[in-house]
């Protein structure tokens, strides 16, 4: 007999997604009427973009168990591609965002695939160096391409991103990622993480599956990059160096590897922490604002010391857990 699922089934993925979109649309509308603080809108938008970045890296660093250090490089590829498409191609306004984002995703995915081919010849911490190396190569290359502004960066990108579009992308990202993670691919990634040799023995083409995760992660980083470019309206290569990668890593591990819920929580906690410190300290005394950069890493360390596996560990919220198919009593 099946256990009756008496607990509320209101919190399903579909409902959370719908709730998010509706809330985003509402907040944005209120913002346009100046009834909702644009600063909060801004923070929410940044959180959204970071969620996409962190969740996608979770695929490689969490589920697959690798230590990839080059995520910001793919974000850069996506950002510049999307920016170039909106700046240089004459497109009707409605198509600009979807086409440029698609361009960013594809470009980042392709670069991710190529980098993955090279990267997965190495393992462990050597893989970290190789991915870091590619991050630096990408940044260095952009710095030397004057057409995209070099170190001066690219200005004048039209603002196409809004809270609603970001929310849409976050929902889309999570829909795809949670389905991937619950699928056979997710199982394969987990098995590779736990024991790559055993995985190979049962017939998994380890390199191909690893590269799949890497490519998908890169593609989503490209999505985030495109959104970012068309939000800030200005991009510069320095925004995508290893410091940015480090930021993403911190949010990822803070939330918990191997947990998509953790990715959301990690981003939210980290971003809010920084902004709250900015506001609260500044309110008490202007000189204390200096302490923000001293207090935030301390809090980070304390959190890691008390919650070793990150805030969520590898647990998931109910609405992100895989649906359990109920096995009826009919099978013999």
């Amino acid at each position: 007999m099946n256990m009756g699922e008496k607990t509320s089934t209101l919190i399903t993925f579909r409902n959370v997604a719908l709730g998010t979109l509706i809330t985003a649309a509402l907040l944005q509308y209120l913002g346009s009427l100046d009834l909702f603080n644009h600063y909060y809108l801004h923070i929410l938008t940044i959180i959204g973009m970071n969620i996409i970045l962190v969740a996608s890296l979770n695929l490689v660093n969490g589920y697959l168990g690798e230590f990839a250090l080059g995520h910001a490089g793919f974000m850069a590829v996506g950002a510049y591609t999307a920016a170039l498409i909106t700046l240089k191609l004459p497109l009707p306004a409605l198509l600009r965002l979807p086409l440029s984002l698609a361009g960013g995703v594809i470009a980042a995915g392709v670069i991710g695939y190529l980098v993955g081919l090279v990267t997965f010849k190495t393992v462990g911490d050597y893989l970290a160096i190789v991915t870091l190396g590619f991050n630096m190569i990408i940044v260095n290359a952009i710095q030397n391409i004057d057409y995209v502004g070099g170190p001066r960066g690219l200005t004048g990108i039209p603002k196409e991103t809004s809270l609603v579009t970001v929310a849409l992308c976050v929902v889309l990202t999570y829909w795809i990622l949670s389905n991937l993670v619950d699928s056979i691919y997710g199982r394969m990634w987990l098995s590779i993480r736990e024991n790559a040799i055993a995985a190979e023995l049962i017939g998994i083409n380890v390199n191909r599956i690893k590269n799949l995760a890497f490519t998908i992660a890169a593609a989503f980083a490209g999505l985030a990059g495109g959104l970012y470019a068309e939000y800030q309206q200005f991009i510069t290569p320095k925004s995508f160096d290893y410091l940015r990668t480090t930021d993403i890593l911190v949010m990822l591990y803070l939330g918990g590897m191997g947990s998509l819920s953790g990715s959301i929580l990690g981003v939210v906690v980290y971003t809010l922490l920084m902004e709250i410190l900015r506001n609260v300290l500044g309110m008490i005394a202007p000189q204390l604002a200096d302490l923000r950069m001293l207090i935030s890493p301390l809090i980070l360390v304390i959190i890691m010391l008390t919650r070793q596996y990150g805030l969520m560990g590898n647990r998931e919220w109910r609405w992100l857990q895989p649906k359990r198919k109920e096995v009826g009593g009919g099978d013999a």
Binding site: T122, Y126, M136, M257, P297, L298, L300, V301, L305
Partner: protein
């Protein structure tokens, strides 16, 4: 022509020596507790600043006193950090340690910035730095040679320490199998603290030399720390010889790329070459392939 080549090789040697002093700390800590101590670059910076403060607060302090004193103080800081931030997580998953290390690093950077100020400083010249001119146009300053020589000396002392002393042997044993070592009656905490102490002391020496030859600022540890980490990995992480080799190799690639290819593409080409190297030797130059039991 030859003069320029020699000149550039000497430039590379000096840069490599500094990288090596930092990389050794990375590799030793990694070897024993498998932690990539991303705060290590900031220990290097801290060492430089401790040296700077010693010289500024105690005028007339001779350099042979300042350097060991700064190394000792920095070693104490390194041990303290391990005790407070890393020890509890020793058996946790690696990534928590990495993030904690990152946090400690950021904390140190901003602490120094708030205490000493964000400006770059130079440690007042204490090492002789006359320029020696050679016949074929090569020019080296004495402090450059001194730095290379002292660094190599420190590396030799380290090698002797790790390979010929009892505690060094204990360190190597911990690197091999942390758990079995405890069954042998070795005090694990002592060994790990020693590792941190020695690594930090070396980094401090590097910081002081750097502050003499160039300048120090609170954020210098970030860039150099990453470069040293890369050097340590290229050489085979966990191997002392590898760290030294990797450092000189990285410095050499950087300098020669600037000299003979293009300075604009220095980062790109240097890392490209290193990636190629890692593809040829996936475990680094001197690294040992780890046997994985299935």
């Amino acid at each position: 022509m030859l003069a320029t080549v020699i000149q550039q090789l000497l430039n590379a040697a000096q840069l490599g020596a500094v990288y090596a002093l930092i990389a050794l700390g990375y590799t030793m800590v990694y070897g024993t507790i498998r932690l990539i101590n991303f705060a290590h670059g900031d220990i290097f910076m801290l060492g430089g600043f401790i040296g700077f403060l010693l010289v500024t607060l105690i005028p007339g302090l001779p350099v042979f006193v300042m350097i060991p004193a700064a190394m000792l103080l920095t070693a104490l800081v390194g041990v303290l950090i391990e005790r407070v931030a890393y020890r509890k997580l020793r058996n946790a998953q690696r990534m928590s340690l990495v993030i904690t290390a990152l946090g400690v690093g950021i904390f140190l950077e901003n602490l120094v910035r708030l205490i000493v100020g964000p400006q770059a400083r130079q440690i007042p010249a204490q090492l002789p730095n006359k320029a020696l001119k050679f016949a074929n146009g090569v020019v080296i300053t004495e402090d450059k040679i001194l730095i290379i020589v002292i660094s190599l000396l420190l590396m030799v002392i380290l090698w002797l320490f790790v390979n010929k002393t009892l505690i060094g042997t204990a360190m190597r044993a911990v690197a091999d199998n942390k758990d079995a070592v405890q069954l042998m009656g070795v005090n694990l905490n002592l060994v790990i603290s020693t590792t941190f102490a020695v690594g930090s002391a070396l980094a401090a020496a590097g910081g002081i030399f750097f502050g003499q030859a160039y300048s120090i600022d609170p954020y210098m540890g970030i860039d150099l720390g990453w470069k040293a980490f890369i050097a340590a990995v290229i050489g085979g992480i966990g191997s002392i010889e590898g760290a030294v080799l990797g450092s000189f190799l990285l410095a050499g690639v950087e300098v020669l790329t600037v000299a003979y290819l293009s300075s604009n593409l220095k980062n790109g080409i240097a890392f490209g070459l290193l990636i190629v190297l890692l593809l040829i030797r996936p475990n680094g130059i001197m690294g040992r392939a780890e046997l994985k039991k299935v």
